[in-house]
């Protein structure tokens, strides 16, 4: 699990990216950068701590509460530490029709954790998510930017083995 260092600071590359993102909006509308910047923060620290949110507020010249209320509204931001790989598992109807519930049970059993929990070695966290817009290729889960589709027990075994290396 990643602990947020003190003081909090973006790497020079990410800070440059953040500054570029801010220029995309009209003058005085830098708050529009909030969601993208939170994604960049999560990419760096794995999750979004209150220290990170305060730092983001400072960069965007907005109040910390404006960051808190947004980070807690959108489901993609992790407000607690997570494992190295966050498995975001689709639990919505179309995936369930394709056997999504059975594969989900298998995954939880295999890793020995429930939704919201992290394995003891800190490698995997399971998070339940809603429809990922990939219903024709269900069951589906996502890890960071990668979609894993048409899941079967065998495929789950392969993926977990691969990511455990």
């Amino acid at each position: 699990m990643t602990e947020t260092p003190n003081p909090v600071a973006f790497t020079p590359e990410r800070l440059a990216k953040v500054k570029e993102v801010i220029t995309r909006y009209p003058e005085g509308r830098q708050k529009s950068a909030l969601l993208p910047v939170l994604h960049i923060a999560q990419e760096q620290w794995g999750w979004v701590s209150s220290e990170v949110m305060d730092y983001v507020a400072e960069i965007l010249s907005i109040e910390p509460v404006e960051v808190y209320e947004v980070a807690s509204f959108y489901t993609m931001y992790h407000l607690d530490p997570v494992g190295k790989h966050v498995i975001e598992y689709c639990r919505t109807g179309p995936c369930c029709l394709m056997g999504g519930e059975e594969i989900y049970d298998y995954l939880k059993q295999k890793l020995g954790i429930q939704a919201g929990e992290t394995t003891a070695d800190g490698l995997f966290t399971i998070k339940e998510v809603e429809c990922l817009a990939a219903c024709g290729w269900g069951p589906v889960f996502q890890i960071r930017e990668q979609f894993y589709m048409n899941l079967t027990r065998e495929r789950v075994d392969e993926i977990i083995e691969e990511l455990s290396k």
Partner: protein, 445 residues
């Protein structure tokens, strides 16, 4: 051979690159529009095409463009809604990742039509890899002079920005999307004022779905009248259908509107029929929000006419015996699917996705989920069925945005058509809660 407006070149190797897309005739619409047409003429072609919003509401796009306020000295914005999150819908995802330049080209001609110099594509955050594909395509278009300052020497400037969402179904609602784009929670706004008057940053704004905008290059190249000649009646052009569930060939298909539901479902060109050894039980034709149909109302209407893939035919019979085109999320259920479980699943989705602003939706979606949960898990009472109908009615029409309606309709329609299955869960809880148990009465009727 059915006309392919959006997917004709989708399988050409390398079509995601500017070079290949250009070789297939890409960006000709930008040249034609910017060099030979006024912005009003482009709007006129959109109106003539009769194209209706492909995100779900089905409102005529040209008319929506016509509402855009144009006060002097105030910027106008075009925002593309790529927040595709409606369960059963994955067409925009497919289109953007496969042929990103089609959307970019559509954004350029549409922005030109509306007089926008900065336009946004708001993509759901889960599709970060698609965002990177779009950003790369934008960069290529810029290098080749189709974006940026003084496009093709015309004096017209356009900057395209891809914005990432943060994971919230509600941001598919256009005013919630605008709030989100301003860096806020996705709480839908009260209307009026409509975005056409006060949208992004309180400026006049048009919000259109990915598929709607992606049709514009073809409309410019061939004319709005040619587009309107495809399809049937007021359902003009083609539509992308996301097909999922118990069919032989799930995937995204482009159909001419007016195609028979029977042909779409059963022909090898499209879904290829129900998976082997099984039979059709139900259909959700347009994404999870639309009313579910039982087997006998899918390929035929209640009046016995062939049901067609068109806005009018799918809604034939109203909510009593019809459904809606919605987003084109075509979810097929065979006899192994439990309608109660699926309805509970959808109700959980809407409860989870309610933004919490309006009490009927915030509280009602939670109550409906709870009641459906207890019916599905063998603790329901017959009174619960009426209770669900009652709660659904009290949400419908009583909220700022349509999420409340979207939560109510699937439940009301499931009870309307599959009441016996709900009763079986309540009267025979031991059987109904066995793993894999499914009610077999209704499908035989």
């Amino acid at each position: 051979m059915a006309t392919k407006i959006l997917t004709e070149h989708i399988n050409v190797p390398g079509i995601e690159t500017f070079e290949v897309y250009r070789k297939q005739g890409g960006y000709a619409a930008v040249e034609k529009a910017i060099k030979t047409m006024s912005s009003e003429e482009v709007v006129e072609e959109a109106k003539k095409s009769g194209i209706r919003g492909r995100g779900g509401a089905g409102f005529p796009m040209g008319m929506k463009w016509g509402f855009l306020a144009k006060p002097e000295g105030v910027p106008r914005y075009l925002v593309c809604n790529a927040d595709e999150s409606e369960p059963g819908t994955f067409k925009d995802h497919h289109l953007m990742k496969s042929i990103p330049h089609l959307l970019i080209e559509g954004m350029i001609v549409s922005s030109y039509a509306l007089g926008a110099n900065k336009s946004f594509i708001y993509v759901r955050g889960e599709l970060m890899y698609v965002i990177r594909i779009l950003e790369k395509a934008i960069e290529e278009a810029k290098v080749n002079g189709f974006l940026g300052k003084n496009i093709l020497g015309s004096g017209y400037d356009l900057e395209l920005v891809v914005q990432s969402g943060g994971g919230a179904y509600i941001c598919g609602e256009e005013t919630a999307l605008l709030e989100s784009l301003e860096g806020k929670r996705g709480n839908p706004r009260n209307k009026p004022p409509f975005p056409a008057v006060k949208g992004l940053y309180q400026s006049p704004t048009v919000v259109n779905n990915v598929e709607s905008i992606a049709n514009m290059p073809w409309v410019i190249n061939h004319g709005g009248d040619a587009y309107a000649a495809i399809g049937i009646g007021r359902s003009t052009g083609t539509k992308l259908i996301s097909a999922s569930g118990h069919i032989q060939k799930p995937g995204v298909y482009e159909i001419e509107l007016g195609l028979g539901v029977d042909e779409f479902l059963n022909s090898d060109e499209y879904c290829g029929g129900i998976r082997k050894g099984h039979y059709l039980k139900a259909l959700v034709a347009g994404g999870s929000s639309v009313p579910i149909l039982p087997a006998h109302l899918i390929t035929k209407t209640a009046a016995g006419e062939d049901r067609l893939m068109s806005y009018e035919s799918l809604s034939d019979g109203g909510f009593a015996t019809g459904t809606m085109m919605g987003s084109g999320g075509f979810i097929v259920f065979d006899e192994t699917a439990c309608i109660v479980r699926n309805t509970w699943n959808f109700s959980r989705f809407y409860h989870h996705e309610s933004c919490g602003q309006c009490s009927p939706c915030r509280e009602g979606t939670g109550w409906m989920e709870k009641v459906l949960h207890r019916i599905e898990h063998g603790h329901g009472s017959l009174h619960d069925i009426d209770l669900l109908v009652d709660v659904a009615k009290k949400i419908e029409g009583n909220t700022i945005c349509p999420l409340g309606d979207a939560a109510a309709w699937p439940i009301a329609s499931a009870i309307r058509h599959f009441r016996e299955e709900f009763e079986w869960h309540i009267n025979s809880p031991k059987e109904a809660t066995q793993p894999g148990a499914v009610f077999m009465g209704a499908v035989l009727a």
